[in-house]
Amino acid sequence: MKTILECKNLSKRYGRTQALSGINLSLKSGRIIGLLGPNGSGKTTLIKLINGLLTPTEGEILIDGTAPGVRSKSIVSYLPERTYLDESMRIAEAIDYFGDFYRDFDRNKALKMLKKVNLDPSLRIKTLSKGNKEKVQLILVMSRRAKLYCLDEPIAGVDPAARDYILSTIINNYEPDATILLSTHLISDVENILDEVVFIQNGHIRMQEEVETIRDKEGKSVDDLFREVFKC
């Protein structure tokens, strides 16, 4: 399997705060990977580094062999944990926007998914509820045929029904050879869809393991293992 993401001795410091320390990480294509860790462990920092929103203090990060830049941004589909669309836009305008900038964006797929959740493309984004705004963003992000999907806390702050919708949308709409990196601290909700987990704590990688191996060797669920590793 091809390596889609590689971090070599990656560190990020904000002033005196060390957000990530000497991370070495390699992720293969065609996997759904959980980036799991408590709040403030460095999950968002790592995802921002992958997306070029931050620059490393030390080390390097390679996406499909290249440093974050125009090429990497054209193959990474990013869902941040906030509304990043211009809320004065209509949903249809946001679709045009994605269609114009991302060659891998499938407009028809987006329209079908919107129809399925009864969202009229002519609606203005600012008139939508928080849950529907998240659905629109998720639909836009998952309508791309990207090589790497970075989903930062996609199920935080939504009700269980919306969680189910989000997770089913994720697993039903990604390319088989693509990788999904999904950050969350809500393990039990996602563990059934994960192939692999990366535990992160205080800017260090604590563990990178196949979910199957955890179940077989340790005889535990990922949630149990997480509680054990991150016990306060």
Partner: protein, 277 residues
């Protein structure tokens, strides 16, 4: 990608600015109709019709001047705010992850802003023409404009340099605002306040630097003590040109340096120091 960025920036920024400038033009047309009905601008202002017409005419003139000033100020502030909102707030998570370079983002937004600065000036001129121009005024204005073009061929060098200075001014104004927004974004939790602070500080620094440059080159003193007494007009023109040409040339060079510095600092912050919360 630059074309696509420009297209979307144009659509986004124009929504509000079209409404504001359209309002000014409609107001100008309605005012003109009022003046025409009252017997002309001169009659309305002079109060020869009646006092109420005079008061309304004065209010209309006051209002159009106010609207034009506010629209110009709003256009500048909106250009800066749009850059801040689209690059350094939540929207920045999308803008900065598009497969484009920071240079393309700055250039596309800058060009849109430049175009709107020109449109703003044009709307100002058109609104004033709609309100006040009459046949007599136009019969003077149009030949005068033609004569300006005719005389431009024989303009002395310093006038051309002055023209370059004037043309560079909007570029400088826009990139200066972007620079302030970018540097202000480095201040956590007070990005807008930071941008305003940077604007004031950089404005003062620019004034100090230009004074120092004029003092060092000695051009400021010479220009201040120009005396053309007893010279023929050709001599005076040559004398004034010999002083103003190097002075304006130094100013243009300073303007270009400032534009480049503001551009590269803004680009550096967007590339290396992006501070999205």
């Amino acid at each position: 990608m630059l074309g696509k960025l420009f297209k979307h920036e144009w659509i986004a920024i124009s929504k509000l600015l079209v409404v504001i400038h359209g309002f000014i033009l409609i107001f100008a047309i309605l005012s003109r109709i009022f003046f025409e009905v009252s017997g002309g601008v001169d009659m309305a202002i002079s109060g020869e019709v009646n006092d109420i017409v005079e008061i309304i005419a004065a209010l209309i003139i006051f209002a159009i001047v106010l609207f034009i000033c506010c629209a110009a100020m709003f256009t500048s502030v909106y250009i800066a705010y749009r850059f801040y909102k689209n690059v350094f707030t939540d929207q920045g998570y999308l803008t900065n992850t598009l497969p484009v370079t920071p240079t393309q983002i700055i250039v596309s937004k800058g060009l849109t802003a430049l175009l709107w600065t020109v449109i703003d000036l044009a709307v100002l001129a058109v609104a004033l023409l709609i309100m006040f121009a009459n046949g007599e005024f136009m019969s003077v204005l149009l030949p005068a404009l033609g004569r300006v073009l005719y005389y431009m061929g024989g303009l002395p060098a310093f006038c051309w340099i002055l023209l370059v200075m004037i043309l560079l001014a909007p570029f400088l104004m826009i990139i200066h605002m972007y620079f302030c927004v970018a540097v202000g974004s480095l201040i956590p939790n007070h990005k807008i306040l930071g941008a305003i602070g940077v604007y004031i500080a950089s404005y003062i620094i620019i004034q100090i630097i230009s004074t120092i440059v004029l003092v060092i080159t000695g051009l400021g003193f010479t220009a201040g003590s120009m005396d053309t007494t007893g010279m023929t007009s050709a001599e005076a023109s040559y004398y004034v040109g010999s002083i103003l040409t190097p002075m304006f040339l130094v100013s243009v060079i300073c303007e270009i340096i400032a534009i480049l510095v503001f551009f590269f600092v803004t680009k550096y912050i967007m590339t290396k120091k992006l501070n999205l919360e």
